[in-house]
């Protein structure tokens, strides 16, 4: 695939170690070579060291050992500004553009007039389909991500690090982004593509590096998903426990990209319930109190109820595999994935007759996802109704239950997950096939 790539390495990171001041070792000698015109996938479960590694490349974290060469020249990258000077730019996971401005206005504001010309040149030469004239707030998220990639290139960057760019995109938008990246690859730009969706990595990337426990478990060409999965999770079987249970009424799955009316649907379910209704909001930060301990983060939720907070917190930490020093640790010390599992666990286990989960596995790796699915089914089995929102078709099918697609305020006829037609779901999610 990388016929042009074998020339000379554009970027080489050798034997990178990252040791944080609290003693955590995030990277244990990670090496990665990026060629010109290559899309290089970087995968690994939560906490495998992906973020630390790219933060080293971007000058956010100083490595304890190891070296970086750019075009064969040994280089020290001491800050993001420094990284940009060396032609490296990182596109963060969450949108950083100003919503009321257009793509061009955003680019001019952050990088100046020369940047705008550069972007126009790239767009014209490659014939890219990008809407740079509409205010960003009116664009689909896939388009916004494409603009962010162009904004990165407008600085003159040759290497773009994409941090989970597809985590909130519909399949059609992912396909679209892939097309853009391929066109740019042809023009000699290189990408480091972080993802936890292996099917996408196989689809989009030329080569892939798998991190596990801070070490490189594999680096090379991409072949099949199953093999990558086993590499990521030291040989565990690919999610064997696809929950066959099709059409239980108690598990309602709503599939669709956020902002299509899910908020309103959730509110409907939240208002019509008798017992305690568990609720994980779309923005999980709404559900935690930063600066308070894990125990207090349980307490604040059920202040009026007679619960042994400490025992309950311990139970959640154990059964949801939350990594924390102890239950008195401030919740903001937890990593994103751990906090997410903690919140979902708290809500699922507190639920009496109903539980509303909005995108509970967003940003989680596949193993965590499988864990949460098991717990959701346990809740269903004890008679709790679970309303589950997701943006991911694979997840919806894996989970089971009754699946409906949500699109622009409309909800499709529910079908049992095991009888669902994947192509039809994809079409509905993209707005095709609605009567």
């Amino acid at each position: 695939m990388t016929s042009q790539g074998r020339s000379s390495p554009l970027l080489e990171a050798r034997n990178i170690w990252v040791v944080y001041s609290d003693g955590t070792v995030a990277n244990k000698g990670v090496s990665l070579t990026l060629y010109e015109g290559e899309i290089h996938g970087l995968v690994g479960e939560n906490g495998a060291g992906k973020t630390s590694f790219v933060h080293v490349l971007y000058g956010v974290v100083r490595p304890s050992a190891g070296e970086i060469s750019i075009r064969g020249v040994k280089t020290r990258i001491s800050s993001p500004q420094d990284a940009r000077r060396h032609g490296i730019f990182m596109v963060p996971q969450h949108n950083v553009l100003i919503p009321s401005l257009t793509g061009i206005e955003n680019i001019r504001l952050s990088n100046g007039k020369g940047a705008v010309e550069r972007v126009h040149r790239i767009v014209d030469e490659l014939g890219l389909e990008v809407d740079l004239e509409t205010p960003v707030e009116r664009l689909e998220r896939g388009m916004v991500k494409k603009i962010e990639v162009l904004r990165a290139l407008s600085t003159g960057a040759r290497i773009v690090i994409l941090d989970e760019p597809t985590s909130v995109m519909s399949p059609v938008e992912v396909e679209d982004l892939a097309r853009l990246l391929r066109a740019l690859r042809g023009a000699g730009f290189s990408f480091i593509f972080i993802s936890h969706r292996l099917d996408e990595v196989v689809e989009i990337c030329d080569r892939v590096t798998v991190l596990r426990d801070g070490q490189v478990a594999y680096t090379g060409g991409v072949d099949d998903v199953d093999r990558l999965y086993r590499l990521m999770f030291r040989g565990e079987e690919f999610l064997g426990d696809r929950h066959g249970g099709g059409g239980t009424d108690l598990l309602r799955v709503y599939l669709g990209i956020e902002g299509n009316g899910q908020e309103e649907l959730a509110n409907m379910y939240l208002s019509g319930s008798r017992g305690f209704t568990g609720y994980v909001p779309g923005n999980p930060y709404r559900a935690v109190v930063p600066g308070m301990s894990l125990v207090d983060n349980v307490r604040f939720r059920v202040l009026e109820r007679d619960v042994d907070y400490e025992e309950f917190t311990l139970r959640i930490v154990r059964s949801y595999e939350v990594v924390a020093k102890d239950i008195y640790t401030p919740i903001d010390r937890l990593s994103g994935g751990n906090m997410q599992r903690f919140i979902v666990g708290r809500e699922v286990e507190l639920s009496q007759d109903r539980c509303v989960l909005m995108y509970p596995t967003r940003g989680l790796d596949m193993r965590s996802m499988a864990l949460l699915h098991r717990r959701v089914w346990e809740a269903v089995e004890r008679g709790c109704e679970v309303i589950y929102f997701t943006e991911d078709i694979e997840e919806a099918l894996m989970l089971g239950g009754l699946v409906s697609v949500v699109y622009r305020g409309r909800v499709s006829e529910p079908v049992p997950a095991d009888k669902a037609d994947v192509d039809r779901l994809k079409m509905l999610m993209s707005g095709i096939g609605w009567s």
């Binding site: 709404r286 559900a287 109190v289 308070m292 202040l303 401030p330």
Partner: protein, 337 residues
């Protein structure tokens, strides 16, 4: 994090002290000698100690209330007005109603209650109309201040002296002195653990803190926003009003145009200095009162202008408000080293 917070506060204080020392040097003084003199005047001299403690009591009582409401993430900038109105309400009981029963108790409680209601008003505006409490509490300071001018220059003016002051109150209304100290200090020291308990060991205090740390989370958990906003502001106003009535009944015995002279603003600094922790407020208020009184004496004996004091308090406030950024910066620095 606790450590970084402490270091940030220390850094804020150091910068303010350095600026004040700079002014002393500009005026040809020796900073070390000046600080020693301030300390002697404020804590070792019997008259000075009494004045310092009087100031500390008022500052501390107001700051205790502010530490509660600040924890709820609500910025009551109106303690100044609530303090003044507390004094006015007590004055109303003494001069107009002339209720003798109970001596100072009725005017004292009346002052506190009116101060509380005066603070609760912006709270109501906050939850009903979403009006920013910073603006309303700040503006109401002027309303209270001009009301004070109105009574002092007009209707309650002492006819005998002709000065813009109200008549001295009869002794039966006066707060008793305890061992030469004003009773206010005892009240502050008693209140501190009570408010600590309220904030850290009751459901109410817990809700208040949750609301302050993440409003959305408080709403997510179904807390009553109205109750938190209005009661939080009421408590802070109640204590500011208590301090105002207390100073009227316990140290000035009359109202005059410079009845408050910025205590309510200074108390904001004290609360922040104590990290909004009720048990630290007494310490912070005594230290700060010592500095204030000491620097006033310095103005008289060493020609260091009072403006230098304002410069330092202003700078200190700015630095303390920035502590969360300083804290982050220190954390960042610590990771780099």
């Amino acid at each position: 994090m606790q450590l970084y917070r402490g270091l940030a506060t220390l850094l804020a204080v150091s910068i303010a002290v350095a600026a004040y020392s700079g002014v002393i040097i500009l005026y040809g003084g020796d900073p070390v000698e000046a600080y020693l003199k301030m300390f002697r005047n404020a804590f070792l001299d019997p008259y000075g100690l009494r004045e310092t403690m009087r100031l500390a009591a008022a500052l501390g009582i107001i700051s205790l209330g502010l530490s509660i409401v600040f924890r709820a993430g609500l910025w009551n900038i109106g303690a100044e007005g609530q303090y003044v109105l507390g004094g006015l309400a007590a004055g109303y009981v003494v001069y107009i109603l002339s209720l003798h029963g109970g001596g100072p108790v009725v005017p004292l409680l009346m002052g506190a209650l009116i101060g509380g209601l005066y603070a609760a008003l912006p709270g109501v505006l906050r939850w009903r109309l979403g009006v920013n409490e910073v603006l309303t509490t700040l503006m109401l300071n002027y309303v209270a201040l001009y009301l004070l001018y109105y009574v002092v220059y007009g209707v309650w003016r002492d006819p005998q002296t002709g000065f813009p002051v109200t008549p001295e109150i009869p002794s039966l209304y006066r707060l008793p002195e305890i061992g030469g100290f004003v009773g206010g200090l005892a009240i502050m020291l008693l209140l501190a653990p009570v408010l600590y308990h309220l904030l850290f060991h009751t459901r109410y205090g817990f809700k208040l803190r949750v609301y302050g740390l993440n409003r959305e989370a408080a709403e997510y958990a179904g807390y009553d926003r109205r109750m938190i906003i209005v009661s939080g502001l009421f408590i802070s106003g109640f204590l500011a009003g208590l301090a105002g009535a207390g100073d009227f009944l316990g140290s000035y015995y009359r109202l005059m145009p410079r009845f408050s002279s910025g205590l309510g603003y200074t108390a904001i600094i004290v609360a922040l200095l104590a990290s909004n922790h009720p048990l630290l407020v007494p310490i912070a208020s005594i230290l700060f009162a010592g500095f204030l009184y000491g620097s006033y004496t310095l103005a008289i004996v060493a020609d260091i202008p009072t403006e230098a004091t304002y410069l330092m308090t202003g700078l200190l406030l700015a630095m303390l408000v920035s502590t969360q950024y300083l804290e982050r910066w220190i954390g960042w620095l610590a990771r780099r080293l």
